[in-house]
């Protein structure tokens, strides 16, 4: 049984693409295939014009998992330095990047803390900073805020949007949440399970500096409605 079949998709540079669908629809698999954590049984996939493996070797993407997966024996600063150490950045460059990316996620002053001293939302921000620290072209995020409560989640959504706006990365974002997908994305990919496939691709062009208030506007609700219809259509194949 294939997790994904007949999936064809083009993503342009600088886009924020959300993948939404019920569990088992292959959205995580898609991200893992792009990240070369898993190999497709057939088909072609180009990441930045390279094969997934070469893109990984070229350090083209940063990956954020649902759990922060920080290393508990390292301080926040050392956690941020980990990918930089592995990639052989100079000591001075490492220090500068730690400062820059910690301030980007509003965590300046937490350098010497250990992960257990931070809240779940803060830890996830560290893991985002860690994924960005080596300046990859792509940011792959697999339900990064799925384990957080609504209030923290809203806050981090706004922060992520600012981050995307200021860094101009291409973001691929997996989520279950319709409002989250509509709020963040320039393009929403609606998927359905068994086998995983794309039901609908919705363009979503709110201004880049949108705020949470747009969630009350008719345009927003219209797109959310279209996503919901797509998800429901996918489900009718279920039984």
């Amino acid at each position: 049984m294939d997790a994904l079949s007949n999936v064809s998709l083009q993503i342009a540079e600088g886009e924020f693409v959300s993948f939404i669908g019920p569990s088992g629809c292959g959205k995580t698999t898609m991200l893992r295939v792009i990240a070369d954590l898993q190999q497709p049984s057939n088909g072609t996939l180009l990441v930045n014009g390279m094969s997934a493996e070469n893109a990984r070797l070229a350090r083209s993407y940063g990956y954020v998992f649902q759990a922060p997966a920080l290393f508990p024996w390292r301080t926040i600063e050392k956690n941020l330095k980990l990918p930089l150490e592995i990639m052989g950045f100079s000591e001075r460059d490492q220090q500068q990047r730690v400062e820059r990316y910690l301030s980007l996620v509003n965590l300046t002053g937490f350098e010497r803390k250990f992960p257990w001293q931070l809240s779940g939302g803060m830890q996830q921000r560290v893991s985002i900073a860690r994924a960005l620290s080596f300046d990859p072209a792509l940011l792959l995020m697999d339900e990064p805020f799925g384990a957080l409560d609504e209030i923290v989640r809203d806050h981090l959504n706004e922060q992520l949007l600012q981050l995307w706006n200021s860094t101009e990365k291409t973001v691929l974002f997996v989520t279950h949440s319709i409002p989250e997908a509509v709020f963040l994305s320039t393009k929403i990919v609606v998927m359905s399970p068994r086998p995983g496939r794309i039901i609908d691709i919705i363009d979503c062009n709110f201004p880049r500096d949108r705020s949470l208030e747009i969630r009350e506007t008719p345009e927003f609700l219209k797109i959310a409605q279209r996503v919901r219809i797509g998800l429901r259509a996918g489900h009718s194949y279920d039984e």
């Binding site: 990240a35 954590l37 990984r56 070797l57 350090r59 993407y61 940063g62 990956y63 998992f65 759990a67 997966a69 290393f71 508990p72 024996w73 390292r74 301080t75 980990l82 990918p83 150490e85 592995i86 990639m87 250990f114 992960p115 257990w116 001293q117 080596f134």
Partner: protein, 307 residues
């Protein structure tokens, strides 16, 4: 409700400290006291016949109190009373210069050196084995059964063979003892470290993969630090085992020095008091070694962000 009505009554600091001290040490003191009492009763019971027979052989009239006091100061009792062991222990520790052949300090040092060398060898070997097992499926399948088998053979049977074989190779003294000690103590370290090296979260391993980390980087930056708690847990087990290994190794060598030699001589000549004093020495030694490992563990854990 006002906040002051919620406040708990504060105990005076001095009373609190006394209370904590009592709370902490009272259970321990009680068990020790109970054990000593049971020991005295056992000493009286076990040595009773010995002492009574002594009186009867010499055809001296005796009373029960005389027999009881006799059971606690017999020269070669079946079970020496605690104060006899304590005085023999203190006597042989402080009564001679530390390097005199009658000093327990001297014998402890001989055993300790074999223990430490064996412990170091065993730890290195155990860690190396764990590394090999973790990095290769084939090695896991081919090595693990042998590692487990190695511990099924009683060391008392193996020790003389080791000594003879190593002796034929020209190795005498410290090294054969250390090898036997290492043979015993590598096992918990190898098993513990296999567990430790495979303990990282799958997410952490995948993160390393997304950064295209080399196997060596994965080892040093992830597997090794993740294994540290397992390392100390197994080192604590291993250090006592390596002491036992060193003592056992001293038995068949007819060693002239070491705690094992003292034990052997004690049992040979029925010197039960000396035997027990040597046992106390080995207990003191192994507690000291464990405490030392625990101390290092605590300082390492603090540096690694333990809370």
């Amino acid at each position: 409700m006002t906040s002051s009505s919620l406040a708990l009554p504060l105990r005076a600091p001095a009373a609190l400290a006394r209370h904590l001290l009592v709370e902490r040490y009272a259970p321990l003191a009680t068990t020790v006291l109970a054990l000593v009492m049971i020991w005295y009763i056992a000493a009286v019971a076990m040595n009773w016949r010995l002492v009574r027979d002594g009186f009867e052989r010499e055809e001296v009239p005796y009373s029960i109190t005389e027999v009881i006091s006799g059971t606690m100061q017999a020269e070669r009792p079946l079970l020496p009373a605690p104060h006899q062991i304590a005085s023999a222990f203190l006597d042989s520790v402080f009564g001679y210069s530390p390097l005199a052949p009658r000093s327990l300090v001297y014998h402890s040092l001989v055993t300790l050196s074999a223990t430490l060398l064996g412990f170091a060898l065993g730890a290195a070997f155990g860690i190396l084995l764990a590394l090999m097992i973790v990095h290769s499926r084939v090695l896991e399948r081919s090595l693990l059964p042998w590692i487990i088998c190695s511990q099924m053979v009683p060391i008392l049977a193996l020790a003389p063979i080791f000594i003879v074989v190593l002796g034929a190779l020209g190795l005498h003294g410290l090294l054969p003892k250390s090898i036997i000690s290492a043979y015993l103590c590598f096992f918990p370290i190898a098993i513990g470290m296999v567990k430790g090296f495979t303990s990282p979260d799958p997410l952490q391993l995948e993160l390393m993969q997304t950064w295209s980390a080399t196997p060596r980087q994965v080892l040093w930056k992830l597997r090794w630090p993740a294994a540290v708690p397992y390392l100390f847990a197994s080192l604590k087990v291993a250090v006592t085992i390596s002491l036992i290994g060193a003592i056992v190794a001293e038995l068949p060598t007819g060693a002239e020095a070491g705690i094992g030699a003292r034990l052997l001589a004690g049992s040979y000549y029925g010197q039960t008091v000396q035997l027990w004093a040597a046992l106390v020495a080995s207990a003191v030694l192994s507690s000291g070694l464990i405490a030392l490992v625990a101390l290092v563990e605590r300082s390492v854990a603090r540096r690694m962000g333990a809370h």
